[in-house]
Symmetry: C2
Amino acid sequence: MCLLYQGKIILSAVIIIHAFQYEELVQYVDSHQEEYVEALRDWVAIESDSSDVLKRPDLHRMMEMTAQKLRLMGGSVELVDIGEQELPDGQTLALPKVVTAQFGNDPNKSTVCIYGHVDVQPAKIEDGWATEPYNLTEIDGNLYGRGASDNKAPVLAWIHAVEAYQALSVELPVNVKFIIEGMEETGSNGLDAMILAQRDTFFSDVDYIIISDCGWLSRRPALTYGTRGNCYFFAEVEGPKQDLHSGVYGGTVIEPMTDLIGILDTLISPSGKILIPGIREAVAPLSDEEWKMYQDIEFDIENYKSKIGVSQLMYSNKVDLLAHRWRYPTVSIHGIEGAFSAPGSKTVIPAKVTAKFSIRQVPNMDPAMVKKQVTDYLHSVFAKRKSPNKLKVTMIIGAKPWLADTQHPLYEAGKVAVKRVFDVDPDLIREGGTIPIARTFQDVTEKSIIMLPIGGFDDGLHSQNEKMSRYNYIEGTKLFIAYLHQVSQIKKTQV
Amino acid sequence: MCLLYQGKIILSAVIIIHAFQYEELVQYVDSHQEEYVEALRDWVAIESDSSDVLKRPDLHRMMEMTAQKLRLMGGSVELVDIGEQELPDGQTLALPKVVTAQFGNDPNKSTVCIYGHVDVQPAKIEDGWATEPYNLTEIDGNLYGRGASDNKAPVLAWIHAVEAYQALSVELPVNVKFIIEGMEETGSNGLDAMILAQRDTFFSDVDYIIISDCGWLSRRPALTYGTRGNCYFFAEVEGPKQDLHSGVYGGTVIEPMTDLIGILDTLISPSGKILIPGIREAVAPLSDEEWKMYQDIEFDIENYKSKIGVSQLMYSNKVDLLAHRWRYPTVSIHGIEGAFSAPGSKTVIPAKVTAKFSIRQVPNMDPAMVKKQVTDYLHSVFAKRKSPNKLKVTMIIGAKPWLADTQHPLYEAGKVAVKRVFDVDPDLIREGGTIPIARTFQDVTEKSIIMLPIGGFDDGLHSQNEKMSRYNYIEGTKLFIAYLHQVSQIKKTQV
């Protein structure tokens, strides 16, 4: 009893010590922010574009730099070979190695695993960047550069959070593992297999997985508890054996492009209603609780409109808009391969045209079922055209949505950490986009996952002029410091 | 009287001499065919792609080579500066000069003006060519190469026809002029103005204009008496100020691509019926005489199908098929600029997409009216979508159809020349494609025009594996030799 009593005393003391040290850690972060910006500058300077095979050496260098940074901090670091990718021409190319690292292995502490990526989307100044995309440039408190927000600054913020504990000789409250990949922007090639292979080794002692590869919804910090999945389709219509001159042959052949346009036009109505039978029926209904939650979320529709640059959105009220962004499916037609897409004019009847479109997945849609629904539907509308052309429908990506329980202790810990750093309660939000790795972590490792974003709502991921604000970067580092502490407060039995 | 009598005698003698010399000319052509093929090889080797600004130096070189060839034959040659073209980015680029040449200026003879072009459509081996497109390759009697049939071999055949007369010191039966341009494949930029400017100079003594920029319908030689025109449209739908991530924004924005697909789908029915009000009503009705003529034309539907590589055409009987190829309008959708058109997948909502489509023009359609009909119609169907996006419809080409009188002496001369060389009567055919310059020649110079093709029915113009058969090239040269003679037999008063 006495021991227990003393135990409680000691526990309280530890909490007090942590609270005190939190202030020291915060001061440390504030006083080192120039170094953090320089570290980000060094990382952004590497053109680690995973979609460009010519940039693969840069990507390898990026993974090595990441590993080296973690090694210098005394982490137990590995560069895991995940094999090769096959290129469309049949050649193979080494995939960037995955960096894993471990700081601490105290069996009495919880173990968190932080996932991030250091590859980026393509960027060229000619695309419309105001600054050189690979030269981090600070303007009015924003740090502009490709990959600044997606996902280099968040990865660095996590590393700096651990480093701050080390620098002040404050014991890490949890064991911290890292898994940093270099193929996220092109579909995390090789990562699923690696996670599966290391399920009973690297992941065996992991309690929680933390992902910071997303952003806030407004200026208010957020915790993200869901993402949409994605079923990506190719619909190919093939007719003549080669492209034809539209003057010479027009009027005599049944043109594949006309057929393709005809079937694409049956996917979604002008008001956004998906016309493929069965899709809408599968969607989990919006609960009153959810409706109320959406009502309370800080979201400025006018701001959103002006950011996108449109005069009118698909829905004019906040709840409908957020719901259709996060928890309803939608169809986007991305483009058509094989038709004439260059500037100028060409009088061609394209012989084979392939539409690319995708349907965002939400609970309780099932990609396998969606594949069947879409394929059957398109074939049925195509059949009505009585065209001699051939239709082939292929689903090339079938990524499921991911949804977490916002009452989970990981989220409760997030709420406390946000309150401590920002002195506000976070919004609980979802992502319209897909982070397939969340679903893989959940399905393979069966660990609990939280998405803890520090990116701003207007960071322009994948767009021109991507940025991370200095504020989000530095305060985000503090949030991660606070969160590590807060996770250590979760009783293992709670989970 | 005596003089007249003698005159007749002399005339008969000339005809006899010509007939005799024709055989010599034919022998000359046969014995020089390897040189002709080499000349074509040299011309095809020049990548005179008028649509590619980077190839402009090659195009200038092509015009210079053409001029030089005509100069070496003793022609009176000019390279006519026709100014500059404006590029979409506002820059200007010198247009390829137009080559004019003259052989003979005897006022007692008729003067023919031969029109041709030496620019070509784009071609890359990756497009699916079996041979290098700019390296003329002979396989089974076919000469494969970009521009071989369209229009380099026919231009060379005309030059070689004149050269043969010269080589044998046979007086040219008519004065021969050439007008060779380098922008035909992109709309003959600058040529209309040049023709207008030289109407009372270069064209003042021209009696007949001959165009050989087309092909036969079957293995039977043909004379072409009509072409369709073309109204080429851009329909641009503009929404957000930049491309958006389809996960992050999908479901909240009204996507320009969905709008564009929606309006494109209203242009033409699956059975080929144009849905734009007023278009079909303007078309000249098919006369009984025309119907009968179409019935008699040699045309093998099965062959046509297998050449195109389709199992079914828009119409299954010859008259309907030919009529819809030549004398009814049609809509072809060529492609969409601004959407994702590369291989692979990209989760983008394109911000601005521009469809390219064209409507073939026939008598009695009026391009100005068609422009209004299409623009009004698309705006009306777009309005029904209630989209906040902006639609802009532009007609960038408005080329009228052209139609000649098949009873004209130029056509009678053609029938005789074809009979002499090929020992068959030619089919009288029309072209589905557009040769806008025919219409310009007609409207500006008011001269009579004939289209005298030597290209094969399966030459694959604008496609992969374009070719000219050695047979058509060499026999075509003979046809031109015979035709020059035959034109000299037309009494000026007849016309």
